[in-house]
Assembly symmetry: C2
Homo-oligomer: 173 residues x 2
């Protein structure tokens, strides 16, 4: 096995099949710039169509976001919408099925949820999660099971797990 | 939908099916304490059997690792092995199939790889990845496809995507 670098790597990545599903993301008051930056980098990797930053979520230009995002805040289409509720309604009108990433009494494991082809994932604040008023507007909710002692993953890590699952589960095996 | 908190949340998580597969991890000179801490938190969530830190990987006790790990460095069984090559050989003797998370000319997409029930995943340094001499000892290699413009994800993010896939793809749907 030989590690791929430079042009070889670029060429290799370009030959990969593209997922059928389309993703959008809504961040409801994600507070830490390092999480927002990480989410921009993940959003680029997942070819997210639109990233909506709401509430107290810090927005670009922001040195910490740009650094952690590896400048992907300049690649991923994003905009700021003050109320997360409005962001949900806008994406629904654009044809997205809205799924909250949150542990609720109605949440399904992320790997069993029947995702359609246009999915918007909503994540919430590091401490408070997705609020009730936003949950009420969502079409469904999913969670990432915790097999150890901890009760949660970092928000950007959980989001990456879910987004990749949504995309690759639509690819031919 | 009602968010779950406290005892309710604990009870809910406890009812989730447990994966059949067992995971171990080898970190080959992962340099940043924040990545090591994140990996401890992910390792707990994935109920990793053993986490082997090698080379220049910083080890607990370390304030940054503990903070980012949410103290899961005190939960996950870990040990330091100087040479990653030795770590690979030890885990193979313990019955693990060894998979590098690295872009090589022989890497398969992580979601098509035929994982057996005991899998050790090897990740490398943030800049240099898994070295050739370690790749030569591995049973296979997988990669996380990049659907956007970036060429890589952060090491702890890629590892979380792969570990969760290995575990949940062994669960009944």
């Amino acid at each position: 096995m030989k590690p791929l670098r430079g042009t070889e790597l670029k060429r290799f990545l370009r030959t990969q099949p593209k997922p059928r599903r389309q993703l959008a993301l809504i961040l409801q008051s994600v507070a830490y710039p390092v999480n927002v930056g990480s989410i921009f980098r993940i959003a680029d990797a997942c070819r997210v169509q639109e990233l909506l930053l709401t509430g107290i979520t810090p927005t670009p230009p922001h040195p910490k976001i740009t650094k952690v995002a590896r400048a992907k805040d300049q690649r991923v289409p994003w905009r700021y919408v003050e109320r997360a509720e409005d962001a949900v309604m806008e994406l629904r009108e654009a044809g997205y099925h809205i799924v909250a990433l949150e542990l609720t009494d109605a949440s399904q494991p992320y790997y069993t949820y029947p995702y359609p082809d246009k999915v918007a994932v909503v994540v919430g604040n590091e401490d408070h999660g997705v609020t009730r008023s936003v949950l009420e507007l969502c079409d469904g909710a999913v969670f990432v099971p915790m097999f150890g002692k901890g009760r949660s993953l970092n928000v950007h890590v959980a989001l990456a797990v879910v987004c990749y699952h949504i995309l690759v589960s639509s690819l031919p095996a």
